[in-house]
Symmetry: C2
Subunit: 324 residues, 2 copies
């Protein structure tokens, strides 16, 4: 692991994206969203994810020239077609539009069909909160989780993000419907650790904290068992209904082919009724424990000061891709 | 347990509410919402809840003469003041208005402050779905759950409801942020059963399936551990920010004094873009297991055919309250 200044990573990554065909301004934005994800400590969906993202472009799953476009509008509700373009650019454009509608109508919703993996969902929560509004968004995914009562994957882990603005630092929840992602299971296994709580079933159908047993059974747990399973179904149904796009059961099982997914972006502007006051500060103070997003502030400061932590081999690969 | 025809229960309950000061039309609606809750099998929040509801009226916590009123509006976002009126009437009026805004603006949101317990949250999900729109609503509650990392209750179990319309029967998720309610814990204990999964901590801080141990420690689990804890915080923050009303930490610990809570009602009308088609049917068919709300259809049919199951002593009490 080496540390590289943020600006340098940003430059190299933008160059990589330009070389693969993304228009310069859009390449810079997409690179920034990847860089900020690593900066904020969400390493699984930042720079480490770029090689897989490039593979989806080369395989034709992601069309770097496509731009999301509004195809229908009714008041504060809009349908956009993501045209299988770059996932983080599509999602950013959708939340940007939802924020603009929130300023006008008090709230706004963009339902986005035919898009691709948005990488870190929290990105769009921070985007809303940094603009001073409440952001709520969710996405469906390929089937990677058995619903409660079944043993094979038929529902998505469908991340849900809820973000509220606060002068001292936004409160941002970014959570998938699985208790542990496959990435998290692999990390625990590699460290030789048990999960802190039950994370799924083993092949015999027993609840277990052994990450390898869950990787073997393909039966991770939904959060709250039947509850997270149900919420996953409803997030999928609302995303498909509002966007007119595809539901989880219509998506393939190959992560490189996870294209044409459906997402919902909601923004609310409570400031239309007056200053927000210290409501959120007082909630945070009442908890006595960490609030969602609190760790990000510390990690962000550290990574900005010391440079982004990057795997050395990955950094060489990215520089080669950039022609540097 | 006896069975009483739905119409007879409705008549008696409406008479009870009129006698305690609710205006006749409003009494009929409030009675209907209680009756439908029992009809749908949610016995904890239907007729069984009426004595406690009457107690909150007699104690002055609930003002039966107050009607929720819009106090601010901006496009598709409205703030209402519940004036500490009857919780289910306030919530019904708020979702009704959100539905009307959804028809006009594509979506609509009513944020309701100073209201009281809405009884079954699913009521307002069914209300939206029966009107052909997507309904999402949530409420904060008094502090009844320790946040993840703490041992005393500081967050609410903040029920979240998501409902989508479907000709063959709506899909309605109605879930609190605790894995088991105190009512559910008591039921398991009375039956001498262990919980099917860990439901909280015992006094020594160990995860347990023993309902009595959790009742003793006052440490039920949030769904998904840190995840449900975080979602509870965000539901509270968004409800307080949007409504301008109170957050969980500002509410007392006495259930009879759980007044002045904050709620959010959202409705989306995807039909503004054309017919809904069979999207939800196909999602339901793909699951291979029960969908959220499926049990309701069966229980509802049985209770409509046989009459509502009512505790005999409770029925006598209600008839006495009604002067019958």
């Amino acid at each position: 692991m080496i540390r590289i200044p943020v600006e340098q990573v940003q430059d190299v990554l933008a160059a990589v994206f330009i070389r693969i065909g993304v228009a310069p301004e859009r390449a810079a934005l997409s690179a920034r969203l990847f860089v900020e994800t690593t900066r904020d400590g969400v390493y699984s969906h930042g720079l480490n994810r770029v090689p897989r993202f490039l593979a989806t472009i080369r395989s034709g799953s992601v069309n770097v020239r496509a731009q999301a476009e509004r195809i229908a509008a009714h008041g504060a509700l809009e349908r956009w077609d993501g045209k299988k373009g770059v996932g983080n650019l599509n999602a950013y454009a959708a939340m940007d539009r939802a924020i603009a509608m929130a300023r006008e109508h008090g709230l706004g919703c963009v339902a986005l069909a035919n898009t691709n993996h948005w990488m870190r969902g929290g990105t769009y929560g921070w985007q809303a909160a940094d603009a001073g509004v409440i952001g709520i968004c969710w996405t469906n995914t390929l089937p990677n989780l058995p619903p409660w009562g079944a043993t094979d994957p038929r529902i998505g882990n469908n991340p849900l993000i809820v973000a509220v603005p606060r002068p001292a630092g936004a409160v941002v929840l970014d959570m998938a419907m699985s208790q542990f992602s496959y990435g998290a299971l692999a990390s625990y296994r590699e460290r030789g650790e048990l999960l802190p709580v039950d994370g799924g079933f083993d092949r015999e159908g027993r609840l277990t904290r052994d990450p390898a047993a869950i990787e073997g059974s393909l039966r991770p747990l939904p959060i709250g068992f039947w509850k997270g399973s149900g919420l996953s179904v409803l997030l999928d149904a609302t995303a498909a209904l509002l966007s007119g796009g595809r539901a989880t059961h219509e998506l393939g099982l190959d992560p490189l082919q996870e294209v044409g997914i459906s997402q919902v972006f909601l923004a609310f502007d409570p400031a239309v009724f007056g200053p927000l006051g210290d409501t959120v500060d007082r909630i945070v103070a009442s908890l006595g424990v960490r609030y969602p997003g609190e760790q990000v502030v510390r990690i962000r400061a550290e990574n900005l000061a010391k440079g982004l932590p990057v795997d050395e081999a990955l950094w060489e690969e990215l520089r080669k891709e950039a022609g540097r």
